[in-house]
């Protein structure tokens, strides 16, 4: 079997010509990945709150229906938020996409196996929740079509992308969450964001 793609190649292809895309990354390697491709005010890399990435994307997508929201997270982080699949599927915002980078391991903590290593199928679970188009990608060549779907904004996207295991060099975003949030809000809402009551 051919080796699964490198995670940063996948993220680079997802974020190509990103335009106004709003990106939330789950804690750990996904946050380093989006930063490695290029730190950006419309990035919200999470440093904590494991299991919160997809729901944060839902809150943002519902708040800004005319914007496109992409959540990029890992299999371990998504496994902690299986209920969020149901919550998201009930609301089904057309402008929300969730992409799970699945290396079947907890890579940040010593490469322990996750449940997906043992056959748990996150895309099938998402389909079961009601996200009918949820699917699993296994090659880099499949990513541009997914990217196009994310930008089309014609329905909630849920995709699992199998990636090669292993750790890449850390590329850390700013550590102060207040700065990350404030710059994101300013990029999206303008300077008035800082005066919202």
């Amino acid at each position: 079997m051919a080796e699964y793609p490198n995670r940063r190649d996948v993220v680079r292809a997802l974020l190509e010509d990103r335009g106004d895309l709003l990106v939330i990354a789950g804690l750990g390697a996904s946050a380093w990945d989006i930063t490695a491709i290029g730190d950006h005010p419309r990035n919200l890399p999470l440093w904590g709150g494991m299991g919160g990435a997809a729901m944060m994307g839902l809150g943002l997508a519902l708040a800004q229906p005319s914007a496109k929201v992409l959540v990029i997270t890992g299999d371990g982080e998504m496994l902690m938020a299986l209920g969020a699949m149901a919550t998201i599927a009930v609301k089904k915002p057309a402008n929300l996409s969730v992409v799970v980078l699945d290396n079947e391991h907890y890579s940040e903590t010593g490469n322990q196996e996750t449940a997906t290593r043992h056959g748990v199928d996150l895309a099938a679970m998402a389909r079961g929740a009601g996200l009918a188009s949820a699917r699993t990608l296994t090659t880099l060549e499949q990513v541009p079509a997914l990217r196009a779907e994310i930008h089309a904004g014609t329905g909630t996207v849920f995709a699992v992308t199998k990636i090669a295991p292993g750790n890449l060099p850390l590329v850390l975003p700013p550590r102060d969450g207040a700065i990350l949030q404030a710059r994101f809000r300013e990029a999206l809402l303008g300077p008035a964001a800082h005066h919202q009551l």
Partner: protein
Amino acid sequence: MDRDKLEMRPDAGADWPDRIYDALKANGITQVALVPDAGHSRLIKRCLADNEMTVVTLTTEEEGVALLCGAWLGGVKGVLLMQSSGVGNCINMLSLSHIHRTPLPMIVTMRGDFAEFNPAQIPMGQATQTVLEAMGTIVHRADRPEDVAETVDATLRLAFNTFRPAATLLGQRLIGAKTFGKD
């Protein structure tokens, strides 16, 4: 009212849930995250009937913390409605409110509190305020109908004016109390 029952809900004549709804409207709340509780049922109905409000029913309360952090990222103000047992499900996720300085108001209906019937409600109910405060949440209680509007308004203002988690605990004495339509 039969107090020895499994669910506590306000008497039909109690209108403090409407005062909470009024406070949400006055403070510009448009995203409502909740895990249902009988004590919140009248308020939930009001929110569902409001076309300006987006109601998100969660599978577990911690989802609501993340949801509201996302809403604020997008410039939208929300509130989390839950029972005291749900507070225990939120603890680590409340970190997000701190690290991002996200306004996070919560309105909590208490169980395991005044004249509780169900022993299973006691451990989390008795720990609710301590646990919220341990995570840096400013907590106010309302135990009388006449205090509800002011207390909820204070919680909403604290959260959004000072960028932090804040909670109103609605005491079981209030939820179970008869008002005979006057308060």
